[in-house]
């Protein structure tokens, strides 16, 4: 981006020397402004204005009762826990599928990717039905196998629900991380493996000394995206549990939605929580959460830069 901006500045200077007055240059580029008008209008109205306005709501409409930061902090971070599990699974699968001697790997890649292109609404409905306890259900099967002692109400049990939602979350988005890791593995030059083999490195040594260093940078980006994604989850939780039962699976986004638009009669599965709309409070929670996300993004970007710098220093003799 910076090189592009620099190029733009040079272009500008050149153009200024050529054409002279500002007005003439604006006139000469009038069509550019026309082409950018819809973009500018939409971004200003739906991206920039809402950010400023939500700050306004926070300052003027939130009566100060309640603690928006409380919900921003604790529970939904439990969801981030699922990232390492998912990333590890995705990495193992990617290592298997990346082997050039494995046939049909494109087919397998597509199969494992499918849940990622399916709407959360469908996933919510299908899993609610699969996990419900009528007839020959999952509970009945596990009872027969003596895995559990009594039927479990998977989405209605406050202790089980968060883990179920996390498990479904792993299944849902694994495809993205699989494809990211595959892309990362393909950026490692084959010659490095060749050289390692010639030096007598076995598979494990090749993995630790070629694959892991080769994946460090792209792995950080993948982790970065995964954390941001799981902190912004809404759809899956809303359709599976509506945040219930008793707030057990509430995440920031479902919380904000319930505060802003109310909930109660309307919620899927495990029963929602009755909340009166409280727009100021919702805005305060969104605002604090937005700032928190921005900080997390910044920290991660800094970490990424450190790794890059260290790598460049290491590359120097």
């Amino acid at each position: 981006m910076t090189t592009h901006l620099a190029a733009t500045r040079q272009e500008r200077l050149r153009a200024r020397r050529r054409r002279g007055s500002l007005l003439a240059r604006v006139g000469a580029n009038r069509w550019s402004y026309v082409y950018l008008a819809p973009f500018t209008l939409l971004v200003a109205m739906f991206t920039i204005y809402p950010i400023i306005a939500s700050l306004g709501y926070t300052l003027y409409q939130w009566n100060g009762i309640g603690s928006p930061t409380r919900y921003v902090g604790l529970q939904n971070f439990a969801r981030v826990v699922h990232d390492p599990v998912q990333l590890l699974l995705a990495l193992v699968l990617a290592l298997v599928l990346n082997n050039p001697r494995l046939r049909f790997s494109t087919f397998y890649r597509a199969v494992y990717f499918i849940p990622a292109v399916i709407s959360a609404a469908i996933i919510g409905v299908v899993f609610q039905l699969m996990l419900s306890n009528f007839g020959d259900s999952l509970s009945a099967a596990l009872l027969r196998l003596h895995v559990i002692q009594r039927p479990v109400d998977w989405l209605g049990d406050p202790h089980a629900v968060l883990w179920i939602v996390i498990g479904i979350g792993i299944w849902n988005t694994l495809g993205y991380n699989l494809v990211y890791f595959l892309a990362g593995l393909q950026t490692i030059p084959a010659e490095l493996y060749e050289a390692a083999r010639i030096d007598g490195a076995r598979a494990a040594a090749q993995f630790w000394h070629v694959t892991v260093p080769g994946l460090r940078e792209i792995g950080m980006i993948i982790l970065f995206l995964a954390v941001l994604y799981s902190l912004q989850v809404f759809d899956l939780v809303q359709v599976l549990t509506g945040g219930g039962p008793y707030y057990a699976s509430e995440v920031v986004n479902t919380y904000i939605y319930h505060q802003a638009f109310g909930a109660g009669s309307f919620s899927g599965g495990g029963g929602g929580t009755l909340v009166q709309p409280n727009v100021g409070f919702a805005s305060a929670a969104s605002f604090f959460y937005g700032v928190l996300l921005l900080v997390i993004t910044g920290v991660q970007a800094l970490a990424l830069r450190r790794i890059r710098q260290r790598r460049q220093q290491g590359a120097r003799p």
């Binding site: 939409l42 971004v43 739906f46």
Partner: protein, 289 residues
């Protein structure tokens, strides 16, 4: 000679499955089957009778086929209306996104108008600001624009949501196109508009295909935006919102719920089957680039 036959025999030998790989394939196939099991089960469930649905539990194949569920969902639960709404919204969002972002990307790639630098800086900043937490002011804005209770509310919010990212992708693509092409067109007397329409857009076909696919998938699957704007208006609901509403409306008609899920899922799965390589390669490219 010997080299040539060596290559040929290698090629002949390769397509055969190496026996050493069979266990790997067995594991991958079994896990893949488990992976897509929920969808296969939903297909089975949508074809069961209601009694069969309870008896047969998590088994895959229905003992007796019952197509009535699709009729129940399509007419009884108004999935025909939801389907039409989804089609209209997705078509408008995809067209709007492609047109507006390619226009903006073209202008940014090809002209150095006064104010371009500050424009780019502000736009880049918005990319890093967290979105999705501003639904309250957006709802307020849509109300004041008198777009509430229309399908346009969803279209406008979706198009606006994809604006910055897609514009940057188009801009990047147009920058890679050789300037000689526009200069040749200029010599032939084509202006800014004609170059966009007759030179740049046809050349951007691969980018249009990729972004079209992604905005189709995200618009069709979108849950949050249509939930906020159409949940209270049954005649405006999209398929995902309609499905969500159907869960709470029916407490017993699970087979029709499965049928509704399949109706919602079918267009995406069709597109995915035909374009999976393109879609997955584009996802991979996002992290590589």
């Amino acid at each position: 000679m010997s080299v040539a036959t060596g290559v040929r025999s290698a090629r002949l030998w390769r397509p055969r499955l190496n026996r050493r790989w069979l266990p790997v394939h067995a594991v991958l196939l079994a896990a893949g089957f488990v992976w897509v099991y929920p969808f296969l089960w939903a297909v089975g469930g949508s074809l069961r009778s209601q009694a069969g649905f309870i008896d047969e539990g998590l088994s895959l194949l229905p003992r007796e086929l019952d197509w009535q569920n699709y009729v129940d969902a399509w007419t009884g639960a108004s999935f025909s209306t939801y389907f039409l709404n989804s089609v209209v919204i997705t078509a408008c969002t995809v067209t709007g996104t492609l047109l507006l972002t390619s226009m903006a990307g073209y202008a940014l790639a090809r002209s150095s108008f006064p104010g371009k630098r500050i424009f780019l800086v502000v736009t880049v900043i918005t990319l890093f600001l967290p979105r999705g937490y501003t639904i309250v002011p957006v709802y307020d804005l849509i109300t004041r624009l008198h777009l509430l209770d229309t399908l346009w509310s969803v279209v406008v919010v979706q198009v606006a949501g994809g604006m910055v990212f897609n514009t940057f992708l188009f801009m990047g693509y147009f920058i890679t196109i050789a300037r000689e092409l526009d200069e040749a067109a200029q010599v032939d007397g084509a202006g800014f508009n004609r170059i966009y329409w007759y030179v740049m857009l046809p050349l951007a076909r691969p980018m249009i295909a990729t972004l079209g696919l992604f905005s189709f998938i995200s618009s069709w699957n979108d849950f949050f935006t249509p939930l906020v704007f159409t949940l209270g208006q049954p005649q405006l609901r999209t398929l995902p919102v309609g499905l969500y509403a159907f869960v709470s409306q029916t407490s017993t008609n699970w087979t029709a719920l499965c049928a509704g899920s399949i109706i919602t899922l079918a267009p995406i799965v069709l597109v995915f089957v035909f374009a999976q390589r393109h879609i997955i390669d584009a996802v991979a490219g996002a992290v590589k680039g």
